[in-house]
Amino acid sequence: MLIPCPLCGPRDRREFHPRGGAEYLDRPDADAPAQAWDALLHLRTNPAGRTQEVWQHECCGAWLEVDRCTVTHRVFGARLVSEARDAG
């Protein structure tokens, strides 16, 4: 499985660390109730199919939003988390 790092180009999956679904980027406010933090840390929609995930490229340190299928392992693309945020 190759992941296209926007900074380094297509790299082997072994250089990357998965952090979870892209919903992980939607962090609750600091004073949000405990349920919101429980949901962030523990609950997963865990989709079977194409989904957005957060991975870190451990070589350059970049955090990526990876467009990937969990059934076929096909990677459709990746962009920097900061760019994904700006794009809304």
Partner: protein, 416 residues
């Protein structure tokens, strides 16, 4: 029909014309008292113990494929009770005791083989940790023997004892640990449940869970709607999808775990050997193949096959531990989809929907748990009380902080 040696002899003399299918294949009824979603090991054992222990009869098991087509047939068949934490220790101890009486109870040969399991250690610190674990196992009523280096050599002379990175210091022997024939466990429970009147319905995929006023009322399936007073989701590997039918989000992430088997060899590995530093474990099947596995692939996956990076890692660990394995040829490999929970321990509990129960999150420890898992879920469904050995397997323990992190690796799905 009861199976026995006499029966085999009698059927042999009569041309084997008297054998009947091991279980019935009824059409689904419109309604049942209890519907179990998932005809794998856990679902079938749940149905069996609901009938056997609690006298319930109006039960159906719905399976989208054929019975035993999921993880009960995609594992490395290891049975053990070597857990440390209160909450896990008594549960797996209960399960092992059930395993020891299982063949007589089911009247079915599941080829349970208590050949002994050895967990290797490679440092003084690890020895201390295993001594503590062994004491916990003995306190629980199970067996554990701390072996020194020569003690391990008596059992496993083929290891690379002087490996430069992981020299073998000793091992924790769990004599009652071993293996069983995985498919036979599903078949044995299916047959025993069917004999008690449980309806086993294959090729029946659940497509929806009906909830009215906060209470489950039945399920929609590919073979029509079925009403039910109580429904259990016992579908490890697909737990998130089935739970979503009832608008529930589970603390589960799906990962693929690979296993490998070599060509059949003469007996050479007599035990189950576990090499924790490489997350590698191995045993030899009764057919002679060396069955071994490693770690999960570490990223969410529903593909029932693994990545080559982990295959490479497993082979490296195998060669590190027992260089002789380099002479064997790998015949095939496969991957199973694991329900990974945040703390590495399972969930047997009610859900926020009345009458809907969940049994999930088995990580890669589900096979040995099959008897106790069914026993405890049946107890919960029949009595509305958690069984005493499964009372910590709560769905809400991540929110309340009552974790069961056996490995001490942190509360994240892919760290176990």
């Amino acid at each position: 029909m009861r199976y026995s040696g006499l029966r085999v002899l009698a059927e042999g003399l009569r041309g084997n014309r008297g054998w009947r299918p091991a279980w019935d294949r009824p059409d689904p009824q419109d309604a049942y008292d209890i519907v179990i979603i998932g005809g794998g090991g856990h679902g079938l054992s749940t149905a069996y113990y609901l009938a056997r222990n609690h006298g319930l009869r109006n039960i159906a098991v719905l399976e989208k494929g054929y019975l035993g087509s999921g993880n009960i047939g995609r594992n490395t068949t290891i049975v053990r009770a070597n857990y440390l934490l209160p909450g896990n220790s008594e549960f797996y101890s209960h399960s092992l005791r059930l395993w020891e009486g299982l063949e007589a109870d089911l009247n079915y040969n599941v080829m349970h083989s208590q050949r002994g399991l050895i967990n290797l250690f490679h440092s003084d610190g690890q020895r201390d940790a295993f001594a503590r674990r062994g004491n916990a196992m003995i306190n629980q009523g199970d067996d554990a023997i701390l072996l020194d280096r020569d003690g391990v050599r008596d059992h496993l002379p083929y290891l690379d004892f002087d490996n430069i990175r992981f020299p073998v210091y000793g091992g924790l022997l769990h004599p009652r640990g071993g293996t069983a024939r995985h498919d036979a466990v599903a078949w044995g429970y299916a047959r025993a449940a069917s004999r008690l009147g449980v309806h086993l319905i294959e090729n029946c995929e659940v497509t929806g869970i009906d909830v009215a006023g906060g209470r489950v009322t039945g399920v929609q399936t590919s073979r029509g709607a079925i009403r039910a007073k109580k429904v259990a989701m016992v579908v490890a590997g697909r737990s998130s999808q089935v739970a979503a039918m009832a608008d529930l989000t589970l603390p589960i992430e799906s990962h693929v775990l690979q296993a490998f088997v070599t060509e059949g060899l003469k007996p050479c590995i007599d035990h189950v050997v576990s090499f924790g530093m490489g997350h590698f474990y191995i045993s030899q099947s009764d057919k002679g193949g060396l069955v071994f596995g490693g770690d999960i692939d570490f990223y969410p996956s529903y593909a029932a096959r693994g990545g080559l990076h982990m295959a490479e890692h497993v082979m490296e660990a195998a060669m590190t531990l027992m260089p002789m394995i380099g002479r064997a040829r790998v015949l095939r490999s496969w991957g199973g989809i694991m329900d990974m929970s945040p703390d590495g321990s399972p969930i047997i509990d009610r859900t926020p929907v009345d009458g809907l129960y969940v049994n999930c999150g088995w990580n890669y420890g589900g096979f040995k748990a099959v008897p106790a898992s069914g026993w405890c879920l049946a107890h919960l469904m029949a009595t509305e009380e958690s069984h005493e050995v499964a009372r910590r397997y709560r769905l809400d323990r991540f929110a309340t902080g009552h974790l069961l992190d056996e490995e001490g690796t942190g509360s994240q799905h892919n760290l176990h």
